[in-house]
Amino acid sequence: MVTTVTSLGRSGLSDWLIQRVSAVVMTAYLIFIVGYLIATPDLTYTQWAALNSTLPMRMFSLLTILSIAAHAWIGMWCVLTDYITVRLIGPKATILRIIFQLGMMAVTLLYVVWAIDILWGI
């Protein structure tokens, strides 16, 4: 089974590193946003828009959505190439897997475009 044509880094070692770096970025963002929302219970629109329109915050948010995209791509690729296989579900597996993979990639890329539109549209 040729699986490397759809993996993000085209190499297991590269995917492994990307998965871990993106995990650290997302964890930092999650802790920051949850901490901010808990520390600011009476958040107003003005405060929220001011925070998210600063360049460092836009960069942090963009880095996080790129990490989500890479992390989801690698994670979904692992699940799909592990379970939607000819050995497990028969000869239709290859076409089914490629459909799921292309769908997943399309949704992932749409998430990134949507996030850029939100962040630079404030």
Binding site: A23, M26, T27, I38, Y45, W48, V107, A115, G121, I122
Partner: protein, 97 residues
Amino acid sequence: MILFFSVAVFLWLLDASLASEQSFDGVKTFFANPICQFIIWGSLAALAYHAVAGIRHLIMDFGLGEESFESGRVTAWIALVVAVVLIALVTGWVFLW
């Protein structure tokens, strides 16, 4: 799969909370609705579990722990307990606060 699609929920919330003052207030109304609260709770609970299990993997990648079957069992249980505590906190945050 839950996490993959919850990205859409959080992007939609970010979009609405930043688009205008009216839509920001709309998000606040959304958070008061029990069905919406349940969707947010489910997404955050799944995220908390995934994050804790992921941090466990990062710790193991750094070679901490003895890399034995027994330490694998013990840290898996610790991760599960930490995730349950975090999910309890998320429950309080989403439904009660």
